[in-house]
Amino acid sequence: MEYTTKRLKHCDLIQVSGRIDSQTSQELEKVFEAIIEEARFKIVVDMSDVEFISSAGLRLLINAQKTCKRLDRGEVVLANVPKRIYSAFDLAGFVPLFRIEKDVVEAVGSF
């Protein structure tokens, strides 16, 4: 897994690539924590280059979503979700729990 982050005016963008599995989700969790610790709760995750996600990765995302949505202070929005990755979200019953945008511009522009 690799990632880059970008601080924008109204949100933070995380671009993730590769595998989000039980190993790498711990590293990705730290990325979310670093953003959330600065009291920034609007996060866009660009999933376009995510090749694989297991339930461990899904668990990380749902936990981040719970934290960000608390007190209506923000939200994790997903962008460019590949078909396979979407099907894992679907199987987990997670589709209704995330706003999923077509591209990063829509997602960033929604905050």
Binding site: R19, D21, S22, F52, S55, A56, R59, K66, K69, L97
Partner: protein, 142 residues
């Protein structure tokens, strides 16, 4: 590629990618389509996560032996571990639809395995350990 093919991996998170590659190559050789291959990858990943996290948790860790074989219209994958016995019947169904705040996210691994594979069988053999047998069949053409 000759079947059956078997490989043994250390029961640790660092093996996940190698196991994934091993089963993917078998699934491709047998001619599963892309969706089926993705299902195999995810099911095997979840099964290995559980072996590492639950079967071997705390105890002295062991290996994961993975075998792939051709069966009628599909691929059979057998995962063996020497960890503590596991009875999947004891695991409650996952929560797939409560609201975000109440969503309990345990149990997804087994749910994935059962949904993505066409046959799933958990067995425990005292002395040798757990055997998880999974079959993924080719999607009928057309």
């Amino acid at each position: 590629m000759d079947f059956p093919k078997t490989e043994t991996f250390p029961g640790a998170g660092s093996s996940l990618e190698a196991i994934n590659t091993f089963v993917t190559e078998a699934a491709q050789a047998i001619g599963l389509d892309e969706d089926a291959i993705f299902g195999v990858q995810l099911a095997v990943e979840e099964a290995c996560d559980n072996i590492i996290e639950h079967a071997y948790a705390g105890a002295s860790k062991g290996d994961i032996e993975c075998s792939c074989d051709i069966v009628t219209d599909g691929l059979k994958i057998v995962l063996r571990d020497s960890g503590r016995p596991f009875d999947p019947e004891s695991v409650p169904k996952p929560d797939l639809d409560s609201p975000l705040e109440e969503r309990d996210i345990g149990g997804l691994g087994l749910h994935f395995i059962k949904n993505l594979m066409d046959e799933v069988r958990f067995e425990f053999f005292p002395g040798s350990g757990n055997v998880l047998t999974m079959v993924k069949r080719k999607t009928p053409a057309g």
